[in-house]
Symmetry: none
Subunit: 194 residues, 4 copies
DNA sequence: ATCTAAGCGAGACGGTACGTCACGTCTTGGG
DNA sequence: CCCAAGACGTGACGTACCGTCTCGCTTAGAT
């Protein structure tokens, strides 16, 4: 383990970039099913063995591409009230997941084996990262007196982010800013101080 | 629509049953990826063309099998309070989706094209049917004075069922009766009369 | 055997005609591979079982269609010299086999099982019928003193008709009237009186 | 033509051999219809795509197998008279084509599309190669004074080899050494010096 | 400066499953 | 009791990707 020889030609970082870019483009164009190892190799002008050297299968590569490209949530600068920041963030999340890429991310989660490193990292960085932000904002809102103390924070986070994901995948009704707002109204009503 | 010619040999219902049973068994044993048309054909002693005559692809067949086998939600006999019935029903939904079959259903939704008849029927009968039950129970709870009038029912339903689906797929935390209860506590708090 | 019941609906002769016409048309349009039982049934507006009642398989049906449509060799009215009639007949045979239908007939022979009644009838009526005519003409030519007596007639017939069939199938060189003439020159040289 | 890129893993010659051997064996055992791509793949322990990489369809593969295995005509050492060598060679050809493999070769010619490279090569190496030998022997026989000069050599070759092929396919009468001899007697009579 | 080990692209390999086609049989309802 | 229509089990078709493997060519760190 400690040895880690480093002779020979090093990995080609430019090729790696080409691969991730190609993978992302395929996801954008045709969704999860369009991302085949063959297509990525062809588009990135790369051999298949090179892909398998870095990622064990197509899902892993897709996840890596999405992790790479995941947009950061808008920074909370702490200036305004936390509740408003939380509303803004949920709107942002809705917007991201409404795109084809968001659907791809959701579909990947649904079909993946859950015991791999890459999956866990994908889950935390792409699917759950907004939850982390939300958790911090809820804490601040409690301090600001807009949410009462003692609530079950995890359950609250589920109630906020779960429905977004649900609609992304099930598509039974639209995903837009109005939805984000109504959802927040309903949930926050249960969280405000009595 | 009214025409509907009915000449020729009719579909063989026994074979159809064998197919759906085989498909369900495969889903149970190995999840979505185990359900291949070849495997179903072999296990049901049926030719592949027969499968394609009735279902356009493996997902559609999987959905049909799940629709066929979908357990009915526990009947609400209207005897007790609606809120209690709602809690019971959410527990039931959590339990169903925690099984391999539940995960298969969720994964199918995630990967399917949404414009087909079979998908819409699958969505309403397997994924959203609990929502319908929940909607009725909320109405009754309003009449019973346990939920205040004027709330956004759809948003409330999303807040209840969304998180279940979310956890099924993302698997970031456990799915059990305790989760169902904590979730209901949080959401109902926002719905009760002021 | 002697019973020969004749109850029930009689065979539909019009349908039979439609079938043979359809089969012939398919042979003309796409050759042997285009004549499938399904295509014939569809084009003749006939059920497949009806086809199988009369012909055991596609080749048999094709043969029947070709037998039905086989052009009769030009009648030898016995007026002119037999040798000239023979030359005319060979030219005619060459012409017939140079068409797509001729090739189909040849290909059928090549691929067929040889022990069936229909094959034997096809062989004699479509492939070998010209031989019969030729045999008679050779006899007359012997009487007329243009061919010497005592030759091996069957070998001579093979030497005349074999090459035609050969070129039809192998297609190494053209099939035309000039070929027919050169062939006859060569063979007849060996048959003339010494 | 001169380019001929040679990158990537080279074709596996051992596998190629296995395929051709399997194909030949199937032809021998069951004739043309027994040679299916699936059967060859199974017997040669090879994937179907590998077959399609090298041959566009079953007929092409069959042809390749027959070309590979085609027995060379007995060498003409030039010692004896050319006419005798020609008789020997025709006997040999008759013998080869009387076998199941010979019939397969003939049937392939009959059913094939004629515009492909593989067909042309098959025709010249399997069907027409004997003709080439025969052409040379006729030339020598002319020099030796056993055949008169000025005859139409191609017509003569057709008269010799055409009937063999004819009988192979039509099977109206036996194919044996006696047939070969009688045929040669008839044809050579027309070729000898006057 | 030259080995030389590793990475590289290309692409063939044995497989699995796909979705389609035609086969030849069987089973309806209608004439 | 035949007919058309058409579903059935079978089996081959030709294609798409899978994940693994060998090639011959860079490329750069170690000798």
């Amino acid at each position: 383990m400690a040895d880690e020889e480093k002779r020979g030609r090093p990995r080609d970082m430019a090729a790696r970039r080409r691969v991730l870019t190609a993978a992302y483009a395929l996801l954008e164009e045709g969704g999860v099913t369009a991302l085949t190892m063959e297509a990525v190799a062809a588009r990135a002008k790369v051999g298949k063995p090179m892909l398998y050297r870095s990622w064990p299968n197509a899902q892993a590569l897709a996840m890596a591409a999405l992790i790479e490209a995941a947009p950061d949530a808008p920074e909370d600068d702490g200036s305004g009230p936390a509740l408003a920041a939380l509303r803004r963030q949920v709107r942002f999340v809705v917007e991201v997941f409404a795109s084809r890429i968001g659907r791809s991310a959701a579909a990947l989660v649904a079909s993946a084996t859950r015991d791999t490193e890459i999956f866990k990292s994908f889950r935390s960085q792409v699917i759950l990262s907004s939850r982390t932000v939300g958790r911090a904002l809820i804490s601040r809102a409690v301090e600001e007196g807009d949410i009462r103390p003692g609530i079950d924070v995890e359950a609250a986070l589920d109630a906020i982010y779960g429905p977004v994901f649900f609609r992304v995948l099930v598509g039974h009704e639209g995903l837009d800013a109005g939805f984000a707002d109504r959802l927040m109204d309903t949930v926050l009503e249960g969280l405000r101080p009595r």
